[in-house]
């Protein structure tokens, strides 16, 4: 078992596991965000629960942050090693004849998603951590002094989608995430060694996920932009 991360297969296995974990997270994130379209109150209640329940805040959140950092760092490590394996390039290549654009550009699509996550952290995560753990306001209320003021989460979400530039950046990032997932989800099964008749069915689901979830996020952004 020792040194498994030093092997090419071990690194890909770890990459796939972190990817599958992040996809589970993305699905639950989408499930909560879509509530903002149907029921702002439910969205507020669930957001408050997610933001204050200790298991999520102190156990799952650090695991998630580790997973995100690990996935990106390992992605760059693999790319570096792959580039080292062919120092002299071909004069003529026809990659489109034997592979998809998505499969050849995972670093590019991943880098755009990384840039988006920096924006996302500045927009939501850092202010949230500041409010809760530096200011010390764990109430989740619009006005902490007024218990009747209601939770602030829905208003914060809607406020962020006022800017057409932010909505456009959001949409472009999720289109690239979709392209990333169209190859990545399938690829993760292969990397963990799963390739049988059941996995072929799962691969169909992976396409639905890779297109459906990012489109859903874009829909949420557009919905709030046009309705507020």
């Amino acid at each position: 078992m020792s040194g498994i991360l030093n092997s090419s297969i071990g690194r890909k296995f770890a990459m796939a596991l972190s990817a599958l974990f992040l996809m589970v997270f993305l699905l639950q994130h989408f499930a909560i965000n879509i509530l903002s379209v149907f029921s702002p109150d439910t969205f507020n209640d669930v957001s408050h629960f997610m933001g204050t329940f200790w298991v999520i805040q102190y156990l799952l959140q650090p695991v998630l942050i580790f997973g995100v950092i690990f996935h990106f760092v390992m992605g760059f490590v693999l790319e570096y090693k792959n580039n080292k394996a062919r120092k002299v390039s071909y004069a003529k290549t026809s990659h489109a004849a034997n592979s998809t654009w998505m499969s050849r550009n995972m670093l590019l699509t991943g880098a755009v998603v990384l840039a988006f996550m920096v924006l996302h952290f500045i927009d939501f995560w850092i202010p949230e951590i500041n409010t809760k753990y530096i200011v010390g306001d764990m109430s989740g209320l619009v006005d902490p002094a007024n218990t009747e003021s209601g939770y602030r989460y829905y208003e914060e979400l809607v406020h962020k989608f006022h800017s057409p530039l932010r909505v456009a950046a959001y949409a472009i990032s999720f289109i690239l995430l979709s392209l990333h997932l169209l190859h990545g989800f399938n690829s993760a099964f292969q990397s963990v060694g799963a390739n049988n008749k059941y996995v072929k069915g799962l691969k169909g689901f992976s396409k639905v996920y890779a297109i459906g979830v990012p489109l859903g996020f874009i829909f949420i952004a557009l919905f709030h932009y046009f309705t507020h």
């Binding site: 078992m1 090419s8 296995f13 394996a85 062919r86 071909y90 004849a97 592979s99 060694g193 390739n195």
Partner: protein, 248 residues
């Protein structure tokens, strides 16, 4: 047919190398690609120039010697054939054809289009075999019943001719299709079980040491493999490797 060939010329492993243009004429569409290169080489020899060095042996698509990267694809524009089985009718009259060697740090160029593929030999030597005592009373392999499905898959994996088209086609110069075929042909058979753990660990270790890249599942290797070796073998090797790693 009249053609313009853009061929990689490199005097030795240490030479920098460059693409050189060669016009050729009077090529029959029924010639094989290697026969077309023979025509060019005959002209070069008659002119007192050095002929283009390229690997070839059986010219029947069996030995895996030919290793040409033609117009951006391993073994040229057709699928499931080697360069020796490619015919000039696959090209247009007047076409410009790029001919390059396999590109990978683990396949250094020896001269022109010939590369050193002994890294594959070293991977095989690390575990691509079964140890059978030849004492005279060895059991007949056919005496052991094997499921038809597994026998077919093992046979398919064993058809790998080790040409290296998978490495040449992969954007990462990964050798995983080759290694997985060699691992699979034994992993699927009872005779391969005794040394299964050591085999996959040692072969993957050797593959990594040779400097091949990582598999990113683009599938280019499977498309360009002249024997149609399936990506399913890579998934099997991954399973074998991860299980073997847990066993120690």
């Amino acid at each position: 047919m009249n053609l313009t060939l853009k061929i990689w010329r490199q005097k030795s492993a240490n030479d920098k190398g460059k693409i050189v243009d060669y016009p050729v004429s009077g090529i029959s569409p029924d010639m094989s690609f290697l026969e077309m290169l023979d025509v060019l080489n005959q002209e070069l020899i008659e002119k007192g120039e050095s002929p283009v060095v390229f690997d070839h042996d059986c010219r029947e698509g069996i030995c895996g010697s030919c290793s040409l990267y033609i117009n951006g694809r391993a073994h040229g524009p057709q699928t499931k054939i080697t360069a020796c089985q490619l015919h000039m009718r696959s090209f247009e009259d007047g076409e410009t054809i790029y001919i390059e060697p396999w590109r990978a740090e683990a396949f250094p160029v020896i001269k022109d289009l010939m590369v050193d593929r002994t890294s594959f030999d070293r991977i095989q030597q690390a575990g691509g075999f079964i140890s059978v005592n030849t004492s005279g009373n060895t059991q007949d392999a056919n005496a052991i019943p094997i499921e038809k499905e597994n026998a077919d898959k093992a046979f398919d994996a064993a058809t790998c001719i080790g040409c290296g088209a998978c490495v040449a086609s992969c954007k990462n110069s990964s050798a995983m299709l080759f290694v997985s075929a060699k691992v699979s042909q034994f992993a699927l058979l009872p005779q391969g079980q005794v040394e299964a753990t050591d085999r996959v660990l040692n072969m993957v270790k050797q593959m990594d040491e040779e400097g091949f890249g990582n598999c990113t599942n683009t599938g280019a290797c499977e498309v360009e493999c002249p024997k149609g070796i399936s990506l399913e073998n890579i998934a099997r090797m991954n399973r074998e490797y991860l299980t073997a790693s847990l066993k120690g």
